[in-house]
Point group: C2
């Protein structure tokens, strides 16, 4: 009985002192990020000295060179560029659109071409409109009512959802597949309400696809600002034969060479167990891509730096991956996973930051129950930093292809309320990112990487999801 | 045994179904606030049509009239103005300051008078500087080193604190009492580093006091922007006899009549148990007071409206109080408590929102352990809305005087990272408030008021704090 008591006391003491080491390390990480972080300076350069970084663009290549040089300056064990072919799409001249309620009586509205869209004919396209809120509505109308018209997809994001990402998920098919669906019925163009919860004058671009539509059925697609969508809808209620004109000269230029940027600290005990942290280096072209995903890029870079500066020697290999082409192809994420598979690398953990540089709230996880239980046991360590959200759910688009039957994938989950005010629009700019919020995110990510490096993952296969 | 089982089952069932009613009601509250809230429209008017609302100003009186009319339109049971005398301080002409490193060689820096400060002599004041970081440093220097000089208080907010309010608390004595302390040693003026975690060009005003200093020892006090403070400190390191000039024409104009604005819904079962929800109607004059505390005002107004619109009939009397003069006197808060005491009113609960209109994270409480345990049991109800912070701690300045030995006082705790970027500065403006974040705050407050109204407070005396 006495011995058992002693063992319990010793065990408790060991647990407490381990806890206390973790508390100290995490405090060091947060202090260092807030007092001496690099993420904000890096983001300043990426946003203001480079700017929007569309895949295949000159800016994207500059971003590759810049981040590679900055990683080199950190004294990591290895830095390299991983070649990947990416689609090159260019916006061309600024888009132009108006609503015409009678010849010569028109109102200009702000639009932008969707990424991947074809151009309008050189003189633009003008036609009557059909407003729909869903593909079901479109199907019900059929070719007869749609042929020769512009289809206006106007389903708004659901305001009452607390997660704005869920609201986005409920709408984005209009943008991604609207032209494919409408093209099949002989429409001559597609206008999509911007994925934005706020009423304002900024059109929000984003990826679209024609699926397997033949070239003859491909039609130009553009986003209209939320205020523009409201106006258009009101005018259509008042006058059914209102016409819409738009002109855009965007182009798909095939594939060009680009790169993922990769750096790593070699693990001291388990160098073959790889832990990835990353964001995507490409962005849309309307803003400077500060939130999407400059923030994730610089936070991921700072994870490795914060571990180094804090004097921590990782047991496992910690790798930062700056993925190319998340926005319109996911080629970087796929290539990285493909090469990892070829080389037989074991990726035990991957963390992605691609939800904006806002105040971090926690993470969502794609992992086994046992690993999730491990995460839950760490919650008290995060409490002083107001990090409270630890839920099962998605991780991130770029790391998705790394999924195995036992590894841990996760995504940083910042406060999402302001994200879609900026997402893919001209106001996704450096000034919309708060320094402290960005740095708190980097520290939150670093703390999780530290814990998973120190304690490892449980390698039992997960049950079927 | 069987009977006991049945009782347990029934009890569990009752608990579950009660829970479910609460879940539904809280969902209704959040949906209504996000889909059909009034707070953002009210804030737009208060900020853009009225503007800064210094106690005793014409704008403050317009805000009294406007909010009274808006409350009247809600069909509450009773609305009234509660007279309160407030100090009237005016800023006068725009302030002006420069650093002079040689006659004719000077650099302009942005300053603003602190609220309550006296003016400089008409031609301004110019003197050498003494930079200190604390009152201890000031005391150590003593009269010999301070007399005839301008004291420059330059202790920055502590960057590594997660709660920016704690960082503010660690600095604000320089602003509040700096002139009193320096005046005693014969200084001719005081310049205080703005309470701002960000480096920028905006000076942040705020209340100061001369304590019981005789008029002859009172000296003018101003805040300098954080960039200005950094520059000044650098120049002082390079050249000890640098001079500082500043000129301000602010004035204390004695006391004038003003009002707290009050509206209530009479309780159906316990009308004599009063629950207060409030914010402060006055603001500083440099911005339009959108975050501090227009947000708290409109959220508090919407609490009563959201309860009404949701079809809930309060058991207790729910009262919205828009306090006057929180910023430079707290006269409204004190008057309200004084009148409540005179009338023998029982205030069982009070909730204040005065920490900005940012994403709500939870509440801090000043209450007994039993009431706090009650709050803890409600946490799951708030989880779907990402409301997770329920801690003991302060409540709010205006409701503080209502404290009894058994009531529940609490304060809304929004995300604090951006708050001091705007606090008391020219950029505390409507555009810095996000509609959804504001509305989520109103819904969070309404949900807590609903729960305390429905379940009441535990009336046992609290143990000594």
């Amino acid at each position: 009985m006495k011995l058992r008591l002693i063992i319990i006391v010793l065990f408790t003491f060991a647990a407490l002192s381990a806890q206390s080491d973790d508390e100290k390390m995490i405090k060091t990480i947060f202090d260092t990020s807030l007092l001496n972080g690099k993420s904000y300076d890096w983001l300043d350069h990426l946003s203001n000295q480079i700017g929007g970084r569309l895949s295949g663009s000159y800016n994207a290549e500059r971003a590759v060179q810049y981040t590679k040089e900055e990683l080199e300056a950190l004294g990591l064990d290895r830095i390299w560029l991983q070649p990947v072919m990416v689609p090159k799409w260019v916006r061309g001249n600024p888009e132009y659109a108006y609503i015409e309620n009678a010849p010569g009586e028109s109102t200009t509205v702000p639009i932008c071409a969707l990424g991947g869209s074809i151009a309008t004919p050189p003189g633009g396209v003008k036609a009557e409109l059909v407003e729909v809120k869903s593909f079901e509505e479109l199907d019900a109308l059929g070719r007869e009512k749609i042929e020769g018209k512009i289809v206006f997809f106007n389903r708004p994001m659901q305001t009452e959802l607390i997660s704005t990402f869920r609201a986005y998920g409920g709408c984005v098919n209009q943008r991604y597949s609207g032209a494919e669906k409408a093209g099949k019925y002989g429409a001559v163009g597609v206008i999509v309400r911007s994925m934005n919860l706020r009423l304002d004058d900024l059109p929000h671009t984003g990826a679209m696809s024609y699926g397997d539509l033949p070239d003859s059925q491909k039609i130009p697609a553009a986003a209209i600002s939320t205020n523009g969508a409201e106006l258009l809808s009101t005018m259509l209620r008042l006058q059914k034969d209102v016409k819409f004109f738009f002109s855009q000269s965007c182009k798909n230029l095939g594939e060009v060479q680009s790169y993922n940027v990769i750096g790593e600290i070699k693990g001291s005990q388990y160098p073959n167990e790889i832990m990835v942290v990353g964001g995507h280096l490409d962005s849309w072209d309307l803003g400077d891509g500060a939130h999407d995903d400059g923030a994730g890029v610089v936070q991921s870079m700072d994870v490795l730096r914060l571990l180094k500066v804090s004097g921590y020697k990782p047991k496992r290999t910690i790798r930062v991956v700056l993925f190319m082409n998340e926005e319109n192809g996911l080629r970087g994420g796929r290539k990285y996973a493909e090469v990892a598979k070829q080389k037989g690398e074991e990726h035990v953990f991957a963390l992605e930051s691609d939800a904006g540089g806002f105040t971090p709230r926690g993470f969502s996880f794609d992992c086994s129950d046992k690993n999730f239980a491990k995460v839950q046991s760490w919650k008290p360590l995060f409490k002083p930093y107001l990090i409270h959200f630890f839920e099962k759910g998605g991780s991130g688009a770029d790391i998705g292809p790394l999924k195995t039957d036992n590894n841990v994938l996760c995504g940083l989950r910042p406060d999402s309320q302001r994200y879609f005010d900026h997402h893919h629009a001209a106001n996704d700019t450096f000034d919309a990112v708060n320094k402290r919020e960005l740095e708190l995110g980097a520290a939150t990510m670093t703390s999780l990487v530290y814990l998973f490096d120190k304690y490892g993952i449980d390698k039992a296969k997960r049950l079927k999801d």
